[in-house]
Symmetry: C2
Subunit: 334 residues, 2 copies
């Protein structure tokens, strides 16, 4: 069952998915926003900026023309920065290129500022008649591109569509599970990046594995508290796209958000870090959105609050970490 798939966004994850799906014998087009970057991908047959060292198969067609990139696609997989999705989806809608039969899949991890909307909500608002799904899990792009065994989750309500996407996306080394809890799958992927910033900060200021384990344990509790208040299911947060993605992002040396936190912990300013990074660290905008959501619902989120204080209110990293680690002695159930 081969299929025409368009991938909108040529960061590390978009490129890894293009490589994976192309190996799976689908017809893949990959859209890069920046024409110079698209030319690089075509010339070098690899994405050295974001996914260094992995060859892109010749069969992947690379373009910087958005309308062309989705023409004739049965599935469009969105892998843009979260802050760019509404604008890019809006352009596609304005060009009227997508018939209502095209399946839209979001692999974007974030929450919209101001509206508090999830990425699939943005897609549904923009394309109200198209079937939509989400893809999220503990998936470092480099490992997926190198066929190291990986599991992921497709969140999708109609079971038939979930099963179809599962067949299309899965390979022997990339196993997709399905879930009907679209909300939980998306929120797990979005919120964990905030906690990875905090875990990285703990590494950066020289704390150890014990401190980080305590912080990640509290992070999981906070993720479940806010995630269920926002409509996700508790069990989803215990699965691959919740605790699984949280731990890999908090512990992996490759995790971008953990690395940003580590640099904050070592004393670099957010501006310095952002200027030196090619890639987007989604935890940074998501911290702002998550704090807005928590405030609206009256949910206690001490870790998100401290990350917000560090990123947006000039709080000192050491002070923020001290506040997180020095809560009063009490029972664990409190």
């Amino acid at each position: 069952m081969t299929c025409r798939i368009s991938i909108v966004g040529a960061g590390g994850w978009g490129t890894a998915l293009a490589i994976l799906l192309s190996r799976n014998n689908h017809t893949v087009r990959l859209w890069a926003r920046n024409p110079a970057h698209a030319a690089e991908l075509r010339d070098q047959k690899s994405n050295e900026r974001y996914l260094s060292g992995v060859p892109i198969p010749d069969t992947v067609e690379i373009t910087d023309h958005l309308a062309d990139s989705v023409a004739g696609a049965e599935i469009v997989l969105f892998v843009t920065p979260s802050t760019a999705l509404r604008q890019i989806a809006g352009s596609l809608a304005a060009q009227g290129q997508l018939p209502a039969t095209t399946i839209l899949v979001s692999a974007v991890k974030g929450i919209e500022h101001g509206s508090g909307k999830r990425m699939s909500e943005i897609l549904t608002e923009t394309f109200p008649n198209n079937p939509t799904a989400v893809l999220s899990g503990p998936n470092q792009a480099q490992e997926v591109a190198r066929s190291i065994p990986t599991a992921t989750v497709i969140g999708c309500r109609p079971e038939k569509l979930a099963g179809r996407l599962q067949q299309i996306i899965s390979t022997k080394t990339f196993r997709a599970y399905t879930s009907r809890d679209v909300v939980g799958i998306e929120l797990g992927g979005a919120l964990k990046n905030i906690f990875a910033l905090a875990a990285g900060m703990s590494d950066g200021i020289g704390l150890g594995d014990n401190s980080k384990a305590a912080l990640v344990t509290r992070s999981l509790a906070e993720l479940v508290r806010l995630g269920t208040a926002l409509g996700g299911k508790r069990e989803t947060f215990q699965g691959l796209s919740g605790v699984g993605d949280l731990i890999v992002t908090c512990f992996s040396r490759q995790s971008r958000n953990r690395r940003v936190g580590e640099r904050l912990g070592k004393g670099d300013s957010l501006n310095q870090i952002m200027e030196s990074m090619e890639m987007v660290a989604e935890g940074v905008p998501t911290t702002r959105s998550a704090k807005e959501c928590a405030a609206r619902l009256g949910i206690q989120t001490p870790i998100i609050d401290e990350m917000h204080a560090v990123l947006y209110e000039k709080a000192a990293v050491a002070e923020a970490m001290r506040r997180l680690l020095s809560r009063e002695l009490r029972t664990e159930e409190d």
Copy 2:
């Protein structure tokens, strides 16, 4: 509030607790089973075998005489290998050295073979009139001994005793929380070592962070399934002594059980590993006990079963890992 505390067992964790409690101004005696080892500790003023590089304060009294070590103690903290606890506690009971007012605390992580009993059950059977408690959490001994911020949990039913132990054990950098779920606290600490063996095996055969995240996610589900069937509370397994201890043991470079798994993954036999290690890897005996418990209760434990096959049934590591990673495609809820 200083206190006379005896620590029974001079491995890495027992020694770290002796150092911690002595810094906290308690009067501490540390019992080492092996007279030569006790002499080393006294001469070198450090435990180079098990906790290299951390000085033991002069105020810690070191002895290899069991009855002497507990004489006059208000609290006896057991930090023996799990397979030795019944015999050591039995010797103490036979000598009639412990009045019924002495508080007994188990920091031993394991489950008894054959009986399926937890360590605190062994203490309660041996000393039916003494108050007992347990101590468990994501606590690498080296970090605790070096005063790197750490959180732990005291499991204890009478609230007054829990509060007292909390005050005695806590320092600014070692924060003890309390819980009434003694069963859950103990099982979290015991079972996670099995999953750390599996996580280490995944590292050893060269799998990546994505694979390990998927494996640890399934491990948490299995820990909750077996742990609740054995009487622990679901919420406890979401806390420090459950998911917290699980992730630090599966990811930390310092974790002994993870390292044993890694060597298995690289092709060493269990015998080779055991012969070359000074320390006990509790996951090895606990795998056998946990499989017995699961079989008795009819609980599905695929990861424990594969570890049992590798450790005790000569199964090939690569085959066991392949079975764990290649389950059929299906919904995540199955």
